[in-house]
């Protein structure tokens, strides 16, 4: 028996088995459960009622569309603010840039709720009204590092001779940027977009804190339903969000196969 056991683990590929079992139980099955709950009612019979409820519920639809809008604005703001920062960082002297990059990543390691509350405190301090503006600014604060880092990574790995070649061939600085640098940094840009868009579109607690419960995002709707015991409807809303995330990830993989080069780790 023991011999059989050790012979089994002699083969190193069998070492993957415990984790495969773990993944099946804690990753695959929970996702299947979301699908199962989404298409059933409280008694467990198959139904489309949860999705019909979402479609016929203007408040839910509005929140959904509004959340996507806020997420897009946040992502674009992060891109506009973050790209120049990443560009400057990738061009500065090695030693200073290392420290600077660290300074930009550091806030990511502070608990997101503490960071958000600190932002609320800052807005309070400056008498900035807590509302839509605060929501967008607060989320830009929270997620800007996630935009800067991947872009910085791809820019830093870029071959400088390509830029020189463009210059030698007569491109002006604007053309060099538009035709050479920006296209080459696309993997970083797409992974930055995904890394900012996904948490902003799915956020729940942050929005409540930044707007004093005045603005509701889709994440909050999902959380409320789950908390109030409406598991089936909550699961249907989760599934809708999951599909949105899946589409975002697919889009980023499609637009660039090497997107993981810009990954954050």
């Amino acid at each position: 028996m023991i011999n059989k056991f050790s012979a089994f683990f002699m083969r190193r590929k069998n070492w993957a088995i415990p984790y495969v079992v773990f993944l099946a139980i804690f990753v695959v099955m929970p996702l299947l459960l979301i699908v199962f709950y989404a298409f059933t009612d409280a008694e467990g019979t198959l139904t489309m009622a949860n999705f019909r409820k979402f479609m016929l519920h203007p408040e839910a639809i509005n929140t959904f569309v509004y959340s996507i809008g806020i997420a897009i604005i946040t992502t674009l703001t992060c891109l506009v603010l973050g790209y120049p920062a990443a560009y400057i960082l990738s061009h500065s002297h090695f030693n200073t840039s290392r420290t600077m990059v660290m300074l930009f990543i550091l806030p990511m390691w502070v608990n997101i709720l503490i960071r958000t509350l600190a932002t609320v405190a800052l807005f309070d301090f400056l008498n900035f009204p807590l509302g839509e503006g605060a929501l967008i600014f607060g989320m830009v604060y929270n997620f800007l590092p996630f935009m800067i880092y991947p872009i910085y990574n791809t820019l830093q790995k870029m071959d400088p001779s390509l830029v020189e070649a463009a210059q030698d061939l007569g491109a002006n600085p604007f053309q060099v940027f538009v035709k050479t640098i920006f296209p080459l940094s696309m993997p970083g840009v797409t992974s930055g977009i995904v890394m900012v868009f996904m948490p902003t579109v799915s956020t729940f607690a942050i929005a409540e804190l930044l707007t004093m419960n005045n603005i509701k995002l889709f994440g909050t709707t999902v959380q409320e339903n789950i908390n109030n015991g409406m598991w089936n409807y909550g699961a249907a809303l989760s599934l809708i969000m999951l599909i949105l995330i899946g589409v975002t990830v697919l889009f980023s993989n499609e637009s660039d196969g090497a997107s993981n080069e810009g990954g954050v780790i």
């Binding site: 415990p18 979301i34 400057i88 550091l106 806030p107 800052l122 729940f204």
Partner: protein, 261 residues
């Protein structure tokens, strides 16, 4: 000009944290009121008499992170060795499933695990939080160990077996030393991810009164006010992380220069 832009962004990014730090040195209940310099919040944080629940939340956070990071490092490292030796088809499938918790939104991971636990009638508490944290930490460990395996000479393990080592000895003496750096960075990553997590925790923590730092802050903030002791606590955490990161960075730099020599 360019430098000025970077500094402006940094000032903006750090302004909230600085506000918290500055107002940790005053007694006022409400953040933003300056009632004179005082270290009373620090002493009452350490006396622990005012905020017993805050201290226990802190302790829970640490215990959960320690357990989750240790288990995910072991599970993920063994899994990485296994996955590395699989046929490419099976490997790609596992890598895809492995990527799901990293790509997925935290709230979805949380809800999916919540549904798993309620469907099987598992009461939620400390264990379920640890299990949930292992779920989203292990993929990062697998990813940080995998490159070390790729770099390693594949024949050394076989050689050890040919020379009479048992698979366990070969693991211990050959593979383990090679992948150790990946395991360490995987552990650190898992630990910080676990400490920082809010969305997955809130769905798997149940309602038995168990609190982590994140859920404590969340509950506190919803009540309206923020416990004043959170200010010195955040300051301490921030400074600790800052010092740790500087030390890690200096160490990495030193290793690099040592290697060049």
């Amino acid at each position: 000009m360019a430098k000025a832009y970077l500094w402006l962004l940094l000032v903006l990014l750090y302004a909230p944290i600085l506000i918290i730090m500055i107002f940790s040195f005053t007694e006022a209940k409400v953040l933003g009121n300056w009632t004179g310099f005082s270290t009373k919040l620090y002493s009452s944080l350490f006396a622990g008499n005012v905020q017993h629940s805050l201290i226990s939340a802190l302790w829970n956070t640490f215990a959960i992170a320690m357990l989750a990071a240790t288990i995910s490092t072991l599970l993920g490292s063994i899994a990485a060795i296994g996955i590395f030796n699989l046929r490419s088809g099976a490997r790609q499938t596992i890598n895809f499933v492995n990527a799901i918790p990293m790509m997925n939104a935290d709230i979805i991971t949380g809800i999916s695990l919540f549904l798993l636990f309620v469907s099987f009638g598992i009461s939620q508490g400390f264990t379920t939080v640890v299990l949930a944290h292992i779920t989203f930490c292990t993929p990062y460990v697998v990813l940080s160990v995998m490159p070390r395996l790729k770099k390693m000479n594949q024949n050394v393990y076989e050689a050890a077996l040919d020379l009479g080592a048992t698979p366990f000895q070969a693991l211990h003496k050959v593979i383990f030393p090679e992948i150790r750096p990946g395991m360490i960075s995987g552990f650190i990553l898992a630990f910080t991810l676990s400490i920082d997590d809010f969305a997955v925790t809130i769905f798997t923590i149940g309602n038995e009164g168990l609190e982590t730092l994140s859920t404590f802050i969340y509950a506190d903030a919803r009540k309206g006010g923020l416990t004043p002791e959170l200010r010195p606590l955040s300051t301490i955490i921030f400074v600790t992380v800052l010092v740790l990161l500087i030390v890690i960075n200096k160490r990495a730099e030193k290793q690099k220069t040592d290697k060049i020599r």
